[in-house]
């Protein structure tokens, strides 16, 4: 029986961490994720968890401490945002290549500069090829649920990869909303105990972690990492199925909202998906067949499934909350369009870079996207596939 509560996204993430009660949490505060380690340190102080809390002096050290703890055989978690993740960058790659299933709560924020503390996805997109599993969360509920599922996914012996749970800074991290929580005992039962097969503190099996990997091995190790990422897809689905059996809340690789019979659709991640649903409801009342594909699992990217879900559409808009500054389009746009191309499906696609630096994304903005899509669906032509949404421009 779920517990009806109201929590902010940060409170939801911290509550999940409390219920998981990991062996080690090492973190350094940074807006807008500061509250997560702040709340967690209170849990430690109150004796609600028996976690070793390491108040490090930087994010580089936070990730290093998590790596050390996981290599030793412990369960380690951390939280960060934006430049905090940037400072972890070196260790982010070390964590995934050492196959350490660390869980990171990433509260998405614009990476400087210029300095901006508000939401976009430039922090997450900066590490999209670092070998971490990346789940995105529409609201506090999904941030909580994804965190509860994280260890089961990451620690699976076919996977053994670190995982980050993303949610939108301020928009969900600092918004109080309804949430269904599960009991401490049930969470403990679902998450289970961590018994790594190989770990540094096992005196019966001396091993080395992170030694030099020369020409004759690194390539094979990278290929194994890639295989693990591919294997993660099925594991995520299996864990999500078990989670649904327990809580009744359904999760897949992505959520399809009124997509089956849709003619036009938006693809996006995190909180904007919720606003899009409200817009779709209005458009449906007017007889416009609008739909949504909300991506939950960004890494591994479920290319075949995404292409399958979009192939019947007349036009698709892919919304990127980070500009790749590459003169061709955002990261999500590239992944979706190449998935369609490789699966030999042609659907006219258009990319909108939006919400940069916390620019609010309104229902009107999203209605405009669907208007554009109707036009594209009619003509089949995409004049400029790399566009901005909500950008102020000087009138010419």
């Amino acid at each position: 029986m779920s517990i009806r509560e109201r929590l902010s996204g940060n409170e939801a993430a911290a509550t999940a961490m409390k219920q998981i009660n990991p062996d080690v949490v090492a973190a350094f505060p940074i807006t807008p994720s500061t509250e997560i380690p702040q709340y967690f340190s209170t849990f430690v102080d109150n004796g609600q968890v028996d976690t070793e809390f390491v108040a490090v002096e930087s994010e580089h050290s936070a990730m290093s401490a998590c790596i050390g703890a996981e290599a030793a055989g412990a369960r380690a978690m951390t939280a960060t945002s934006a430049n905090g993740l940037s400072l972890m960058w070196e260790m982010i790659y070390i964590a995934s290549s050492l196959r350490l299933p660390i869980v990171l709560s990433l509260v998405n924020r614009a990476v400087s500069g210029p300095l901006n503390i508000h939401n976009d996805h430039s922090d997450a997109m900066g590490v999209r090829d670092s070998g971490w599993i990346m789940l995105f969360s529409e609201n506090n509920q999904e941030a909580y649920d994804n965190t509860l599922m994280a260890h089961r996914i990451a620690e699976n012996e076919n996977v053994l990869l670190p995982i980050m749970i993303c949610q939108d800074g301020f928009i969900t991290s600092h918004s109080i909303e309804n949430i269904e929580l599960e009991s401490d005992e049930e969470v403990k039962k679902f998450v289970g105990e961590y018994h790594p097969k190989h770990y540094l503190l096992n005196d019966k099996e001396p091993i080395a972690v992170g030694p030099l990997d020369v020409q004759s091995y690194l390539f094979e190790h990278k290929a194994q990492q890639a295989e693990a990422m591919k294997a993660a897809k099925d594991v995520i689905l299996q864990v999500s199925k078990d989670f649904e059996k327990w809580t009744g809340r359904h999760y897949g690789l992505f959520e399809e909202y009124k997509l089956d019979d849709a003619e036009i659709a938006i693809v996006c991640m995190n909180s904007t998906a919720g606003t899009t649903k409200a817009v779709i409801n209005k458009l449906r009342d007017k007889g416009i067949k609008a739909g949504l594909l909300k991506l939950r699992v960004f890494r591994p990217f479920p290319g075949e499934e995404v292409a399958q879900a979009l192939k019947h559409l007349k036009a698709v808009a892919i919304l990127d909350k980070a500009d790749s500054l590459n003169a061709i389009g955002g990261a999500l746009f590239e992944d979706v369009t190449s998935s369609l191309y490789v699966s030999k499906n042609f659907v006219p696609c258009v990319n909108y870079v939006y919400g940069i630096g916390g620019r609010d994304t309104t229902e009107n903005d999203l209605e405009k996207v669907y208007e554009d899509l109707q036009e594209i669906a009619k003509t089949g032509k995409v004049e400029n596939p790399y566009r901005y949404l909500g950008l102020r421009r000087e009138e010419k």
Partner: protein
């Protein structure tokens, strides 16, 4: 979502507008509603204009944007009236609630012909008489509950008793004052004709 109520709060950093929006979310949550309570974060500092928001509904709320067409607006500090467009997007069927002692003529002038209902309350007086200090957020919270009819006075009073008991567990001496502030504010809200 037709029963969705959207509220925008205008205050100054340090006056507790954000806290009031969270308390309102709490109170509505406790009567079984779906709620959102969130501030619009800017470069906040004491005294700077701030905005906070509430959405309240009987069905789940998925919208995650600021509120541009509110049903109600609460102005915690009347010095904002001349510098912030507080009625921007405010529905004519809705209402604005202002903490002020200014005249009806002045208010009608600065609200630029807003044709919806205008309510006032002297939150300073309520706060000083019941708490002995100026904390406008508790009276303003009571005022918006009264005006928006999100819940009955009785439901609200009972809920706040519980909330304050929890919130001020370490300062029980302030509970009575806050409850008195709420009861007085519920009576002091005044509609301008």
């Amino acid at each position: 979502m037709e029963d969705l109520i959207e509220i925008r709060w205008h205050g100054r950093g340090g006056q507790g507008a954000k806290t009031a929006s969270l308390l309102l979310a709490d109170a509505a949550f406790n009567t079984g509603k779906y709620i959102q309570g969130f501030p619009e974060y800017g470069p906040e500092r004491m005294g700077a204009p701030i905005t906070a928001y509430n959405r309240i509904s009987t069905s789940p709320i998925t919208i995650h944007s600021n509120i541009y067409y509110p049903d109600y607006v609460v102005v915690v500090d009347d010095t904002l009236l001349e510098s912030v467009d507080v009625t921007a997007g405010l529905k004519e069927t809705g209402a604005i609630v202002i903490n002020t002692t200014k005249s009806a003529d002045y208010l009608k002038k600065v609200l630029k012909g807003y044709s919806g209902s205008i309510y006032t309350i002297d939150a300073r007086k309520v706060s000083m008489e019941t708490l002995g200090k100026y904390f406008p957020n508790t009276p303003m919270l009571a005022a918006i509950v009264k005006v928006s009819k999100i819940m009955t006075d009785e439901e609200f009073i009972n809920d706040m008793k519980g909330s304050f008991k929890h919130k001020f567990a370490k300062k029980p001496e302030v509970i009575d004052g806050n409850m008195k502030a709420i009861e007085m504010a519920l009576k002091e809200v005044n509609k301008i004709q």
